[in-house]
């Protein structure tokens, strides 16, 4: 018994293991409830096609939340940079210039966010909410509220590179999702930038005393998030070969949910890229899974709520160090307040 407890404690320390467990359990549940859909490969290919924009956003947001901040403007950046991409492509016919300007537009929005948060001192949730309205509004103004089709981009290399089908089957964006995840894992866990993010999220005062330039790091972080959001926006626009003014609006809450399901702490100072990776695929697969199980599309949101509550609780209970066994830990997390350790 004691051995079991020790091995549980060891396993919990592996990054993202809890959420991988939840993910596998969910998939098994879907396979049992809808075997015809979930034993074929098509459904998984469709996940690999639809989830990456959400995944990439969630990965970027993981860094922001780890720093103890929040970004609500990324859904507007998706629309704004998508618009810039389409506009430049249609005007000049050069997809790579369009791509670079789209990323730059994301960087610009991020810079303004970061400046408001770090320099002016507006709490990030307010600053980025204002930014969300502003940039979304600007996008609607500039585009005249219309959606723009860019099917001419299909033959271009950029389309194949970002959203083509590898071997005629696997969507390229899924590989990009993995690439961004690996890259951000190294940034957060192995780069000075990530370490500064960890310490700022942990305790800004300590970071300052230890010589971290808090203001510059935060501005850099929001620029980073802006570029990542713009990249997600370009992927989405390319996949749909279409820009529309509200693209991204539906991604706001699922993205935040993906980060929290993954186990990143809202308190700051701890973030898990692997957790977010699986969190995003859980959020992205729930709707299809629930519908295919035959309990009806109306249940999707309810189930998402349940899964989120369950994963977050599981993460908190398992990461409790006090309390020997699982039972004590559960007791502790229910009856003892958060600050009472």
């Amino acid at each position: 018994m004691k051995y079991l407890k020790q091995s549980i404690a060891k396993l919990v320390k592996i990054e993202g293991l809890t959420i991988i467990g939840v993910f596998i359990a969910l998939m098994i549940l879907f396979i049992i409830s809808a075997p015809r859909v979930f034993t074929g490969y098509r459904i998984y290919m469709s996940f690999l096609q639809t989830v990456p924009p959400l995944l990439i956003l969630a990965l970027g947001l993981t860094l922001v939340i780890t720093a103890g901040e929040m970004d609500l403007s990324f859904s507007a950046i998706i629309a704004f940079s998508g618009f810039i991409f389409c506009y430049v492509f249609r005007t000049f016919g050069t997809p790579w210039l369009a791509f670079i300007l789209a990323l730059s537009s994301g960087a610009l929005v991020g810079f303004i966010n970061g400046w408001m948060v770090a320099k002016v001192g507006i709490p990030s949730i307010m600053a980025t909410l204002a930014a969300q309205f502003f940039w979304n509004g600007l996008t609607i103004l500039l585009s005249g509220g219309l959606s723009w089709n860019i099917k001419e981009i299909r033959p271009y290399f950029i389309h194949t590179l970002f959203v083509g089908r590898i071997g005629g089957l696997v969507p390229a964006q899924s590989i990009w999702g993995i690439a961004v995840a690996v890259f951000l894992w190294f940034i957060l866990n192995r780069h000075t930038f990530g370490e500064q993010i960890l310490f700022i999220g942990d305790n800004e005062e300590v970071a300052k005393v230890m010589g971290v330039n808090v203001i510059a790091t935060k501005i850099r972080l929001f620029i980073f998030m802006g570029i990542i959001s713009a990249f997600a926006g370009v992927l989405l626009t390319l996949e749909m070969i279409n820009f529309w003014t509200t693209q991204g609006a539906g991604l706001l809450l699922p993205t935040i949910a993906a980060v929290f399901i993954g186990g990143t702490s809202i308190a700051g100072g701890y973030g898990t890229i692997i957790g977010t990776f699986f969190g995003a695929y859980i959020v992205g697969s729930l709707e299809a899974g629930v519908v295919a199980s035959g309990i009806g599309g109306y249940w999707t949101r309810l189930v998402t709520g349940l899964v989120m509550a369950a994963s977050v609780s599981l993460n908190i209970i398992l990461s409790k160090e006090k309390g020997e066994g699982l039972k004590e830990r559960i007791k502790e997390s229910i009856f003892i307040k958060k600050g009472g350790e």
């Binding site: 780069h191 000075t192 370490e195 300590v206 230890m210």
Partner: protein, 256 residues
């Protein structure tokens, strides 16, 4: 940078005044910390201890006065926290020195990471040095602490030790400890006092700020007593007993 033996004082402050608006926090403070000297800085709340420390560590400049580091006058215009680090002055604040949720090895190197050209951290090297600091410099004995331990698993005394070890590793010439024992159990206090002895043994200087007279008395070579912004006494340890020191301090407490 001057080597040891080439200078007399680690820090000397002369006629330091600090005004916040019209309120004087420090009124002409003079004091010096010799090479390899542990100085106990004593005084009641509001005596100006923390103002003085913030001036030494470059958080803000004094209104008037001069600071000498290793006998060399410091240009107050360019003096800031980073500059103080460079000159080998480091403060350990009780709650502001360590990232609670982070690994120990990260805490050793935050702000001064060992990286490759692209800014990626050399994790193995940092962990190895962290281990060395813990065992060789501060003398941690086993107790299940590794370079990967999280700070919030450590006791209060161990945390002070980590912060002190870090300062020593980065060649601080003067380490300032702000109330290092005020929230600790007796056993933990002993650990911290041992860490301070390590500072002394390694040839460095230390300013030890505390309310707790027995601790200060045990560890210090010299006492500087601050009262309402003025240095009211500078006493060598050989000139006074703990009892006399306590009575001396009580006199000031009653005078208010």
């Amino acid at each position: 940078m001057l080597k040891k033996g080439q200078f007399k004082n680690a820090v000397k402050m002369s006629n330091i005044e600090k005004y916040f608006g019209h309120t004087a926090a420090l009124k002409g403070v003079n004091f010096e910390v010799g090479v390899n000297e542990v100085v106990g800085l004593i005084g009641d709340n509001g005596a100006g201890k923390s103002t003085l420390i913030k001036i030494i560590t470059g958080v803000f400049p004094p209104t008037n006065g001069e600071i000498y580091i290793r006998d060399k006058k410091v240009s107050l215009k360019d003096y800031n926290v980073k500059q103080a680090y460079k000159l080998g002055i480091e403060a350990v604040f009780q709650d502001k020195s360590l990232g609670e949720k982070q690994d120990l090895w990260r805490n050793f190197f935050i702000g001064r990471q060992i990286t490759n050209r692209l800014g990626f951290i050399k994790v193995r090297e940092e962990k190895e040095i962290a281990r060395k600091i813990m065992f060789d410099m501060i003398g941690f004995r086993g107790a299940g602490i590794t370079a990967e331990s999280k700070v919030n698993k450590l006791s209060g005394g161990e945390r002070q030790g980590i912060a002190i070890g870090r300062a020593m590793y980065f060649d601080a010439e003067l380490i300032i400890l702000d109330e290092p024992t005020s929230a600790l159990s007796l056993k933990e206090v002993n650990k911290v006092l041992n860490f301070v002895r390590k500072i002394k043994e390694s040839g460095r200087a230390c300013i030890y700020i505390s309310h707790i007279l027995p601790d200060v008395y045990e560890i210090s070579d010299k006492f500087i007593i601050l009262d309402r912004g003025e240095v009211v006494a500078t006493i060598k340890k050989s000139e006074i007993t703990l009892k006399e020191l306590s009575e001396f301090m009580l006199k000031y407490a009653h005078a208010k």
